[in-house]
Symmetry: C2
Subunit: 187 residues, 2 copies
């Protein structure tokens, strides 16, 4: 694999998720796990101007903040691209972590991330479940992270399992707002 394709090594891109009545993704389920809900969306447009948007969330992809070289090599071996034609289902999961999380130094955050098995859990579901992380906190947005997942319909049970595993980790004790938006692609 050429270095440019390595996990998290691409140049940052800014991405907007607009909830409204247009957009290529139809909302099939929207649940609030913790904290304040988001207004219910009917459709979601990724990076398209939607004049009637009821809410827009924006974030940027970036370099990896915790992943070590060894972890990245293990991810690169199973990597999955966004936009595969068979990946007709998606999820947008905006998350905000607590002030206590953000007040911790890098090594303390990394230790919790590692103890939680964040990388191996996600890796276990690659390449069936593709994932792209967008950072939002630095933009003064209401969430810290917007994670976008894409998968084929037959991987949906595996996706539920992935979320269930993450949500019981020590890292998730720092999550104070989480909304889970499930989508299907409209053709």
């Amino acid at each position: 694999m050429p270095p440019s394709a390595a996990y998290g090594a691409a140049a940052p891109i800014m991405v907007s998720f607009c909830a409204g009545t247009t957009g290529e993704w139809q909302v099939i389920r929207q649940s609030t796990w913790i904290g304040e809900p988001l207004p219910q969306a009917a459709r979601l447009a990724v990076d398209a101007a939607t004049p009637d948007a009821s809410w827009t969330l924006t974030g940027f992809t970036s370099n990896l903040r915790y992943t070590t070289r060894a972890e990245r090599q293990s991810l690169d071996a199973r990597t999955a691209a966004i936009g595969r034609p068979e990946a007709r289902m998606a999820a947008l999961i905006p998350i905000r972590k607590s002030a206590v999380w953000w007040a911790m130094a890098q090594d303390d955050r990394r230790a919790i991330y590692e103890r939680s098995g964040h990388t191996p859990i996600g890796r276990g579901y690659l390449p069936a479940i593709a994932r792209r992380l967008h950072h939002s906190r630095d933009l003064g947005q209401p969430f810290d992270f917007l994670t976008w997942f894409e998968f084929a319909p037959d991987a949906e049970p595996a996706f539920e399992e992935l979320l269930a595993q993450l949500r019981i980790t020590p890292e998730w004790r720092y999550v104070e707002r989480e909304v889970d938006i499930r989508l299907v692609r409209i053709d």
Copy 2:
């Protein structure tokens, strides 16, 4: 010191540096260390709308990306605030690092940062030289970092020493663009 004052623990803020003919900071010297120069500025406004701006650079403060808990405790013990009345001199140093730097995983970048003594070098000049780091790369800006320094005029020789020490580190081999803009406050 209350936790909210800990180094790098505050909520992110977005800051713009506008070069033009207005602004509270007068440019006394502008040098290009490596890479493409920036158009020469006469005055610099921090976070003020300047309709005639010849260039504007924007970045956000953020959580610490490399600093460990022990390092942060050593910084907190000597911390210096931005905006002290005696700090009548400032420097804005925009930097871009190479694609090779950004393609490295977190542990590899941290190892170079540590071997370079980045934290102890900066700490040695606290509290005389205050520093605020702004991240720019994730916004698609021409530089990755905008570092803002403030100090009293008698600390200028120490500031030159600080920069000289940083510029010979292994970390600086990854710097491919650096402009050094020196400023004095206009009252």
